[in-house]
């Protein structure tokens, strides 16, 4: 007898797109990539995020590297995950982009099925599940790690959440950075960040941290004023997320480089 098609997902997970794929379309679920550790593939590098008065800001440089080659000078690594959160990715680029895309569908799917947004920690836990799924690839394969930031639609609290490959999820205080340039960006954030930054100042700190990372990490690109390539920056507030206008990022980046005397040497 034919009956109405049912999701087949575990009770309580009917609104999960990932659970739906696992049940009905397992071939579409990103599988861990193993046995490729020695093969050069594009890698995405530095992401920074910091809290400011009323929200959180995330910025990513534009370089993807493949061994010592620059694979892309215009890669975008920070994406809106839904209206109240953003995700930045580092690591194996193909895996990272797939993760960000699937995560965005997961959030939208829940919202449409349930008629309401997931809580911020609920979103982070779903992302942690995607991160953990790569664990089999850890020793001899390729992995990607995200950085998640958002504002809880109900409480209005802004949060930055980082992940480790075992699916650990950590709430970061004040600011955080991931990727190959992160040791340098972190030092910069520590010196420049202060509580209660205004949005303009937060933008300056984020771009400055990326410039500092690019100074010392070959895999991170600095602003390229000749070819007009600037970091991708998103803000998230209770009103939703918004991509910071490229002209505004450009003007902040040029100001910082001017102050440091980069073009006069």
């Amino acid at each position: 007898m034919t009956s109405l098609p049912h999701t087949g997902a575990a009770p309580g997970l009917e609104a999960s797109f990932l659970a739906h794929l696992q049940q009905h379309q397992p071939q579409l679920v990103p599988a861990p990539v193993t046995g490729l550790a020695e093969t050069p593939v594009p890698h995405a590098t530095t992401i920074v995020a910091l809290l400011y008065q009323g929200g959180v800001i995330m910025a990513g440089d534009r370089r993807a590297t493949m061994g010592t080659t620059i694979a892309s000078s215009r890669m975008e690594k920070v994406f809106p995950a839904d209206t109240h959160s953003v995700v930045g990715v580092s690591g194996a680029a193909g895996i990272a982009l797939d993760m960000a895309r699937l995560f965005a569908v997961e959030l939208e799917h829940y919202e449409k099925i349930e008629g309401t947004e997931l809580s911020l920690l609920g979103k982070a836990n779903r992302l942690a599940a995607l991160v953990r799924a790569q664990l089999p690839a850890l020793s001899q394969g390729l992995v990607a790690l995200p950085l998640f930031a958002g504002v809880d639609a109900i409480t209005g609290a802004a949060r930055i959440i980082s992940f480790d490959i075992t699916g650990g999820r950590y709430q970061e205080h004040h600011h955080h950075t991931i990727g190959s340039g992160s040791p340098y960006a972190r030092g910069s954030l520590k010196k420049l960040w202060s509580p209660g930054l205004a949005e303009d100042d937060a933008l300056r700190v984020a771009v400055h941290a990326l410039i500092d990372a690019a100074d010392d990490d070959a895999a991170t690109s600095g602003p390229d004023s000749r070819r007009r390539i600037w970091p991708v920056v998103y803000t998230v507030t209770a009103d939703g997320n918004e991509r910071v206008d490229e002209a505004r990022v450009a003007s902040v980046a040029e100001q910082i480089m001017d102050q440091r005397g980069d073009d006069r040497s």
Binding site: T2, S3, L4, H6, H20, L21, I113, G115
Partner: protein, 221 residues
């Protein structure tokens, strides 16, 4: 002793159709209509949490009448269909026509072989770049699909309402006027009615985002 009587296929289908029609005709109508700003979706609904109008995908909306558990299951199934397709191919590759065929398959199959036919009727709309690109479909309980522009009505008393609205529909009307026009044409319109309204916003669809917006509830028209 158990006796089974011969029932002709014609009679069997007719009985099933009558059964489904009865269930559907008890539901309040749902109207989907094209206007310059996008596609408006309007129905009467006293509940603020049990919706009859919903978002399926970027440019696609759904209106449903009939038995709640059945159309809710179809709605969720449609969201899964659209999200899976958009993830496997691209967001631009999810179309109302594909969704309608999917629904027609399920409804047709259940009408013929299910324990009972589904007592639902659904309307699917896709907002396009211009009025000419809008698509409005009705899928009936037996899987029959009809396309109609610029207005489509489903549910109880749908035919009269469809005629009344189609004959004088002005697609160039502003959004609020379009909604008011639909509400005024309601068969048993009274002063105090609870409306559920939504819109597939043409401008938002044009920039490639989710275009479905619920509108704040109107207590009256």
């Amino acid at each position: 002793m158990n006796q089974s009587f011969y029932v002709s296929p014609q009679q069997l289908m007719k009985d099933r159709a009558d059964f489904a029609r009865q269930g559907i005709s008890r539901g309040k109508p749902v109207v989907l209509a094209s206007c310059a700003a996008g596609i408006v979706l309007v129905t009467e609904n006293s509940s603020t949490s049990l919706r009859k109008l919903s978002e399926i995908y970027d440019r696609i909306g759904l209106g449903a009448v009939g038995r709640y558990n059945e159309f809710e299951a179809l709605r969720q199934n449609g969201v899964r269909y659209a999200d899976t397709r958009g993830y496997a191919y691209d967001r631009a590759d999810v179309t109302a026509r594909g969704l309608v065929s999917h629904y027609a398959g399920i409804l047709g199959e259940l009408f013929l072989t299910g324990a009972k036919p589904l007592e639902v009727e659904i309307a699917v709309a896709e907002v396009g770049a211009s009025l000419d690109d809008d698509r409005l479909y009705r899928v009936s309980f037996d899987g029959t699909v009809t396309e109609s522009t610029p207005v489509i009505v489903i549910g109880g008393g749908a035919e009269q309402l469809q005629q009344r609205l189609s004959s004088e529909w002005d697609s160039q009307r502003p959004l609020d006027d379009a909604i008011t026009a639909i509400q005024s044409a309601w068969t048993d319109a009274t002063g105090e009615m609870a409306w559920e309204t939504a819109v597939l916003d043409r401008d938002r669809a044009a920039v490639g985002g989710r275009s479905f917006r619920r509108r704040t509830r109107h207590g009256r028209h």
